[in-house]
Amino acid sequence: MASKVTERALNLIKSMPRVALNNIKPLPHTSFTKKTDRRGNRKKKGRGDKGQGARGTWDPLGYEGGQNPLIDTSPRERYYAQYAVRRQYPPVSLLELQRLVDLNRLDTSKPIDITSICNTGLFNFDVSKNHFGVNLTDEGCDQFAAKINLEVQWTSELVIAAIEKNGGTITTRYYDPPCLAALYDPLAFFKKGQPIPKCKLPPQDALAYYSDPNFRGYLADPEQILEAREKLAQKYGYKLPDLTGDPVKEMLLMRKDPLQIFYGLEPGWIVNLKDKCVLKPKDEDYLKYYNTSY
């Protein structure tokens, strides 16, 4: 019986026309009509029923006499969505960085971080405007020729390649706003006499970036970063300079602790500018607070 059914089905298919553009159609329940009218009832111009409210007024802004207005029919492109909450990274280009090096505004024999860039007095940012540090952009990546140990808050792959091609190293590092205020103007911060803050971990949406070896994140595995360096050199076609016999290898590999914000100074220490000394509290609870990350 079953064989007869199969035979009949096969014969039916043989006698049917070939599948072509003229005899295909979408599967049922796959197409849907776009609902253009988001506001629903359009009889009363959104002014309610009768009276002064309905008659003594003009049409609402964007009302097009009953047809679907432009604001409803065109798709929304929210470039400034969540603007007040978003993290901002003011740009600094590689060309500007090279100019600072050329004019002796940055010391390449020491690691360069946001403090050394701000101390030139040529770049500023505002922590109160949700600025979270600098974004190093790729303008002037072909001219860049400095060998530096750099720490920035945001970069692209091309910038990383430009720096590593010259034998330098780069790290992307997150700082929370109170730490950034201290890093932006260390003198003003030390004058307050407050303990050096500990740096928080990055927020949830930035954690992936700062633990990515491809962006040289400060929370990434150092061994994976070594691999990523070689991969990037192959991708852009340059030979990675060997750091083993380098006289400045120690400087190039200097890194801050994830809690630390200044080189050589630990969180919780207090700087006395008048007596030119550093105070290190011995209290156990105090030390426990400043040496644990949350």
Binding site: L95, L103, A146, L187, Y263, P281
Partner: protein, 182 residues
């Protein structure tokens, strides 16, 4: 059964998460001594420090320099970023001089001004010494020659020692001045 007054009072306490005993205590304190709450509790202060004079060198490294550092001599010019120093022999040939700024850059600035007919673009040359009118005529000639414009508006301030040129000619003027050794 609770009275409505008592009920609303207990609700208010609950919403502020303050226990009635604490509220009472703070009220007593505020009436007796209001000034004492502002003072620091001396027993909470940390007094046990280890003082280090050696590690102050790390602080000194961070503090900004009060002056602009002097530039080092480079093996060849222009430097990788395209900077080169003023050429004194070329400068001596000119009737005028435009000094570099403290940041070793040319004092040529672009700025805009909103007017009733739109945005006006200006380029100003500052820190001019010597014959300011000779510089003005040279700049004017250079702009007319290289852009092919029929006219260019300029403004000379003899006391302020600056020239304003109408139009978006910042690069053009900067390259002209660099060519004259400024």
């Amino acid at each position: 059964m609770t009275s409505p007054d008592l009920w609303s009072h207990s609700q208010a306490l609950f919403s502020f998460q303050v226990s009635p005993y604490r509220l009472l205590f703070s009220r007593q304190q505020s009436t007796s001594s209001s000034a004492r709450s502002d003072e620091l509790n001396q027993s909470d202060l940390i007094r046990d420090f280890k003082i280090s004079y050696e590690e102050f060198k790390y602080v000194e490294e961070i503090l900004p320099s009060p002056t602009v550092p002097e530039i080092k001599e480079h093996a060849q010019y222009p430097t990788p970023s395209g900077w080169f120093p003023p050429n004194e022999s070329l400068q001596a040939e000119q009737k005028y001089l435009v000094r570099r700024t403290k940041n070793h850059m040319l004092p040529v600035y672009f700025h805009t001004q909103e007017t009733w007919y739109g945005i006006a673009h200006y380029v100003s040359i500052q820190k001019i010494e010597g014959d300011i009118w000779a510089l003005e005529s040279d700049v004017r000639e250079h702009i007319l020659k290289s852009t092919g414009q029929k006219m260019v508006n300029t403004q000379v301030h003899e006391v302020g020692r600056f020239i304003r040129v109408r139009g978006q000619h910042r690069e053009l003027i900067a390259n002209f001045l660099l060519g004259r050794g400024m």
